[in-house]
């Protein structure tokens, strides 16, 4: 069953529920390659391609976390400036550019807006989050295939799992918040999130 996971501006009159199924040329763009050009050559054109693609998406994400538009814009600008400044620390084998930016944006929100010291530092952006033996090195072709798989699995999540993932990632709601809001037992919230994660990792197949 397809889930209405991808957020899009409401478009009256259309009933297409999911993100465009065929990857657009943008989806196929080699963002990691642009990062390498930024790191090695300080290439502005590559950076501004990253900027134009990710800036509106980061703003939307940060607004969804409850920030006013001006705050979201400031945080997103800062996140992208860090991308420019710390490009040399980016390691494509440690994850996609989108992963890195997500992490920076989330950490900025937690540090600056929620002011909760102590926990994001454990996974600082660019830091060696994963030990060598656990990292899964990808060639860029494998990396792209992996992303296509992940995107397809996201689109195929059962509706309730998709909804709980959306509340977690886009609204930063805790298990307890979700349980209260949906009138769902806490254990059920956890088991949906658990199953969604295992499914997105490709460890679980099937429809439940």
């Amino acid at each position: 069953m397809p889930s209405d996971f991808t957020r899009r501006p409401s478009s009256p009159g259309t009933t297409r529920p999911v993100s465009t199924p065929t990857p657009s040329s943008r989806d196929a763009h080699d963002w990691a390659g642009d990062m390498v050009a930024v790191a090695r050559l300080r290439d502005r054109a590559s950076f501004m391609r990253l900027y134009d693609h990710f800036m509106p998406r980061l703003c939307l994400y940060l607004r969804g976390l409850g920030n006013a538009e001006a705050v979201a814009e400031d945080l997103a600008q800062e996140a992208l400036l860090r991308l420019w400044q710390r490009a040399a620390m980016y390691d494509p084998q440690q994850g996609a550019v989108s992963t890195w930016l997500f992490r920076i944006g989330r950490n900025l929100h937690i540090d600056r807006v929620r002011r909760e010291p102590g926990w994001v530092q454990v996974l600082e952006e660019g830091g060696p989050a994963v030990d060598e033996e656990l990292a899964r090195p990808f060639s860029s072709a494998e990396d792209y295939a992996e992303h296509a798989h992940l995107q397809r699995r996201i689109e195929e999540l059962p509706a309730v799992q998709a909804r709980l993932m959306r509340m977690s990632y886009f609204e930063a709601k805790s298990h307890q918040d979700i349980a209260e809001e949906l009138g769902m037992p806490l254990g059920t919230v956890k088991s949906h999130l658990r199953r969604a994660f295992l499914r997105l990792q490709g460890q679980v197949r099937g429809t439940s």
Partner: protein
Amino acid sequence: MNPHHHLDPSTVVSYAAGALAVEVAIVAATHLETCAHCRARVQDAEGIGGQLVEHQQPALPSTGRLADLRASMLDQLDAPLPTTTAPTPRSAPYEDDDRLPAPLHPYFGASYRALKWRWMAPGVHCIRATGTKSGTLLMLKIGPGRSMPVHSHGGTELTQILRGAYHDALGHFAPGDVADLDSDVEHQPVTVPGAACICVSALDAPLRFPGWLARRLQPLFKL
């Protein structure tokens, strides 16, 4: 250190999403410092976050606003790059006898020796963190060979073992291990003989003690 008890996948997802209550996040971070397995899972969950954010279909800001932001960004690219300090190597938080894991420093200080334990019940001392808004973040020190009252949890209990060890129906928990317990789990930890067990726990709802004895203990715990 090679922990045997890990974070539940639902905790991993919410940690990566920035969606855990802060107390629970602190305990999860304390575990992640020592656990390469769970760090790799969090990185997977952050990859999901990155993918979700990238595949949103944002309404474009007005062209004027976007042009302003773009111009301001281009201006900043001329500034000299800040000297980036290399990320500090991951410390081995359990090797220095006196150093608490880094995520706990803002809430409990950096030194075991400087901790100001308060008596809570026979054989049990605790320290409640200051400065968190809701829920409960506390360190517990339970004497060797002690048995805690049977209890379950209204919400989440996340406990990271720092020193000593205990066992319960779920297994043996030693330093580095985390107990990520569902609300329906009822357990009775018993610490192993020899050394006190020190752990840090986050609760997002009161503990529940069944039985008359435990009900009399509950006011002592004030949880």
